[in-house]
């Protein structure tokens, strides 16, 4: 059972918003005493997902939450865009696959950096990615 302790929504439409959101995530991570390496993993993962959102989804919003499960505290980030959606999620999760000109590390790399990763996408409607990083996970 994962409980949400605080919730905060940030719109991301321009590239500069990325820096703002990173700082916000950093604040939240420090608040729950997440270690530096996990902070870096979380913010890097967020950075990847934000780029996807800006590049493929024309921006969107991110919900930043502090969550708790048992004795564990963590940060949950939910990225939602109203972009074209991903037709084949299994393919998009493969290392080295990209429809853009990138390295194709974004989604699979992000999954490796966080504790929980969930992606839902509907063609023509948009994509939602949810990640959780536990403070000591």
């Amino acid at each position: 059972m994962v409980l949400s302790l605080s919730k905060d929504t940030i719109q991301v439409v321009r590239e500069q918003d990325v820096v703002l959101l990173r700082n916000r995530i950093k604040e939240v991570a420090v608040k729950i005493k997440m270690g530096l390496v996990n902070q870096t993993r979380l913010i890097t993962a967020a950075s990847e997902l934000l780029r996807n959102m800006l590049r493929y989804g024309n921006g969107g919003h991110c919900v930043v939450e502090i969550v708790s499960s048992g004795r564990n505290n963590g940060v949950r980030l939910t990225f939602t865009d109203k972009g074209p959606g991903i037709p084949d999620i299994a393919l998009a999760m493969k290392d080295g696959y990209s429809t853009g000109k990138s390295l194709g590390l974004g989604l699979p790399g992000t999954k490796r950096l966080v504790n929980e990763f969930d992606i839902k996408s509907k063609v023509g409607e948009g994509t939602t990615v949810t990640i959780i990083k536990w403070a000591n996970g």
Binding site: V18, V19, V37, T40, R41, I43, S102, L103, P108, G109
Partner: protein, 135 residues
């Protein structure tokens, strides 16, 4: 627009990234740096990322690009001062930054650059009289 300053020091170009990069800033740096290598005929580029807390796949790629581009303009690139957390994240992300020379701090980076360039100069002197080709 924001820009990251590029300093010239003899044969080398010095770049200290003091802010967290976002995509356009990184792209501007890439373009500026390659131009500067050409303009100053620099033999080496030293990039200090000790103040950078986040390197994601895009910025990793830019760093790799800068190294490859400088290389074909006859200049070596050394990245120095990477934070341990950044190194951990880069590897887990799947970006080992192959082909990029690294050093722990600016001093070691400078020495590495000097040794790489000296080696190259020595080769020139030694190999030429024989007429043999370097590998």
């Amino acid at each position: 627009m924001d820009r990251i300053p590029i300093l010239r020091m003899g044969n080398f170009l010095l770049v200290t990234i003091q802010v967290d990069l976002y995509d356009r800033l990184a792209l501007t740096l890439e373009a500026d740096l390659v131009q500067m290598v050409k303009k100053t005929s620099a033999k080496g580029v030293l990039i200090d990322i000790s103040a950078v807390t986040i390197v994601d796949s895009f910025m990793g790629r830019i760093i790799g690009n800068i190294a490859s581009m400088s290389k074909i303009l006859d200049s070596e690139t050394v990245v120095v001062g990477m934070q341990p957390a950044v190194a951990i994240t880069l590897i887990e992300l799947g970006l080992p930054l192959k082909g990029v020379h690294t050093a722990l701090d600016v001093e070691r980076g400078m020495n590495l650059l000097k040794s790489m360039i000296d080696d190259f100069d020595d080769e020139d002197i030694e190999e030429d009289p024989d007429g043999s080709l370097a590998e």
